[in-house]
């Protein structure tokens, strides 16, 4: 997938087998990119729900939030 860029300039002489391989690599890259949506949303959720209260240094509140945050895991 990451070797794709260097081959880009040489498009005219691409054999069909190579094209298939490149399409497969692109599909894989698209899949990985799409999956980033969930990762980013999860990370943002943790930061906003948990890390911001940590920054406030309120120990009691943090303990409560850590418990509450995992309370709806399903």
């Amino acid at each position: 997938m990451f070797g794709l860029g260097s081959r880009w300039g040489n498009r005219s002489g691409v054999a069909s087998g190579d094209l298939e391989r490149r399409v497969a690599a692109l599909e894989e890259a698209v899949r990985e990119n799409r999956a980033l949506n969930v990762r980013l949303a999860e990370l943002t959720d943790v930061v906003t729900e948990l890390l911001l209260p940590v920054a406030a240094r309120d120990e009691e509140k943090l303990e409560e939030l850590l418990g509450k945050y995992r309370g709806d895991f399903s």
Binding site: V30, R31, N33, R34, A35, N37, V38, R39, L40, A41, E42, L43, T44, D45, V46, L50, E63, L66, G67, Y69, R70, G71, D72, F73, S74
Partner: protein, 521 residues
């Protein structure tokens, strides 16, 4: 104008044979057939789509869940659902029993095959008194969603039934709701879904997440049944409506909002503003023609899109459920990993079992005076032990999914505050995970162990023998230790010890690999 169903040519069905192996039909055209036992619809099929063409005709095998019931006598009737024309009727003896065949569940409630070939309690056998609690449940969940800021509406089969017939579809078995978010980016729609789940949980509902934007909200119906209503998230982006998990079509927001209404079993419920456009997007232009054997023909590109954006959180969950159900009566045994940890860390304060299953090791540590936390994404597995140990302050169980980053970050952050030294055990889990799941396991272990001298103790199947060990442990297939070594290195950890041992002295024995890992280099 006559409907498409009326334009279909009638004609007899050439039934050559009906027996326990299935139904054999003579050559014929594609058509939809309802099969009834003693007058009650039990299954529907499309002759050519679902049948297998052979030399002697088209053979339709009975759906697998139905087969155990095929022992006894019943009147088999086949009808054309569009015209109710009886195409075939005969008393058939299956197997040896002389009693009538009754396709019912343990409580004696009638069952039928649904469109996913599952044997379920369908609506056609529910009388008004049984339907009312479901309508109440729909009302309640719509109200709860409104309270958390979402204008939800009837979707999929529930919308189709309400809009087309004013009622629940007889061969359907669940109720579906949907909403279209005001956000237009998958990340924001997913974050909104997390928020909704929290809000509904706060309101006292049990909510199960099926994907990043699909939830099941459980309601206790007035007849005491626990019913889960599916709530599918959706959004509009660049003129396309995306509704989990089948719809990705060019659409206008005005065709959804402001919502209209439709009558379902005599009560009004919200549906998208343009019902025809919405149902065409869901079921195609022929949505007005009933089809109990309907199968979505969602384009592969749409499935791929939803898989990439939203799915992948529940991989393996059903398989583990089946495993725990199958092995529930097996004698529990303490793992070698637990004994190894106890020996290596005589001063251990907290033991964490990732993928704890029934919680045998957790209970064993607690009995030795060590606080123990059992983590598993299959709560069904540890439910019994959690109840037995409800009053034991040393025992905690927590639902934990290695495929959800929120779990992977928040649960270890909580455990890292427990007394040290802490150690982590993980027995026959990594074989069933992909790279992402295993990296998340290593990440979680590293967080749990932060600030202590503790270690992660892994055990996995490295060579599958012919001794049934892979099936007995749920490991299924072996994992190359080289893969794990590379992943540990990638996580910044080091392998302190690695041993491979046969699980018995029998020839052809399986081999397991045990690794002790830390991040204290």
């Amino acid at each position: 104008m006559r409907s498409l169903s009326q334009l279909r040519r009638p004609g007899a069905l050439d039934v050559l044979q009906v027996d326990a192996s299935g139904i054999l039909l003579g050559a014929g055209r594609e058509r939809l057939v309802d099969v009834a036992f003693d007058g009650r619809r039990i299954w529907s099929f499309w002759v050519l789509r679902d049948g297998e063409q052979g030399e002697d005709g088209v053979r339709l095998a009975w759906p697998k869940p139905l087969r155990p019931f095929l022992d006894g006598v019943t009147d088999v009737t086949m009808t054309d659902p569009a015209s109710d024309t009886v195409l075939f009727s005969r008393t058939v003896q299956f197997g040896e029993r002389s009693e009538r065949i009754e396709v019912v569940n343990a409580a004696g409630r009638p069952l039928a095959i649904d469109k996913s070939l599952k044997l379920v309690e369908t609506f056609d056998t529910r009388d008004a008194a049984q339907v009312e609690p479901l309508l109440d449940a729909i009302d309640e969940v719509l109200g709860a969603l409104r309270e958390v800021g979402l204008d939800a509406f009837l979707a999929y089969g529930t919308a189709l039934g309400a809009i087309r017939d004013g009622g629940l579809i007889g061969h359907d078995s669940d109720a579906d709701l949907g909403y279209v978010s005001t956000y237009d980016h998958p990340v924001d729609v997913i974050r909104e879904s997390f928020r909704i789940q929290r809000a509904l949980t706060d309101m006292g509902y049990r909510v199960t997440r099926y994907s990043a934007i699909a939830l099941k909200v459980h309601v206790e119906e007035s007849d005491g049944l626990d019913r889960g209503l599916d709530v599918f998230g959706g959004f509009m982006r660049d003129g396309v409506l995306y509704l989990m998990g089948e719809i990705a079509v060019p659409f206008e927001r005005e065709w959804i909002y402001p919502l209209g209404t439709a009558t379902l079993e005599g009560r009004e419920f919200p549906v998208p503003a343009d019902a025809d456009k919405f149902l065409t997007a869901t079921y195609g232009p022929r949505w007005r023609v009933p089809d109990p054997a309907y199968k979505f023909t969602t384009p592969a590109s749409t499935i791929e899109l939803f898989n990439g954006w939203f799915r992948g959180m529940r991989t393996g969950r059903a398989g583990w459920h089946a495993y725990h159900k199958r092995t529930a009566r097996q004698q529990p045994s303490v793992s070698d990993v637990a004994r190894e940890v106890a020996e290596r860390h005589p001063d251990l304060a907290t033991y964490v079992d990732i993928g704890c299953g029934r919680g045998t090791d957790v209970a064993w540590f607690a009995d030795r005076g060590v606080s123990a936390v059992g983590l598993d994404f299959q709560p069904y597995a540890f439910e019994a032990e959690a109840q037995r140990r409800a009053d034991d302050p040393r025992v905690t169980f927590q639902l934990f999914n290695l495929l959800e980053l929120r779990h992977v970050l928040a649960v270890p952050a909580w455990i890292a505050r427990m007394p040290g030294p802490r150690a982590v055990g993980c027995v026959h889990v990594v074989e069933r995970l992909g790279h992402r799941g295993r990296m998340n396991l290593l990440r979680a272990a590293r967080m749990v162990l932060a600030g202590t001298t503790g270690t992660l103790h892994l055990q996995f199947l490295s060579q599958k023998g012919r001794d049934g060990y892979a099936r007995r442990t749920g490991a299924r297939k072996p994992l190359d230790p080289a893969v794990v070594l590379a992943e540990v290195a990638e996580s910044g950890g080091r392998v302190l010890e690695e041993v491979r041992t046969s699980v018995s002295s029998e020839p052809g024995s399986s081999q397991v690999c045990r690794m002790i890992i830390d991040w204290n280099a």
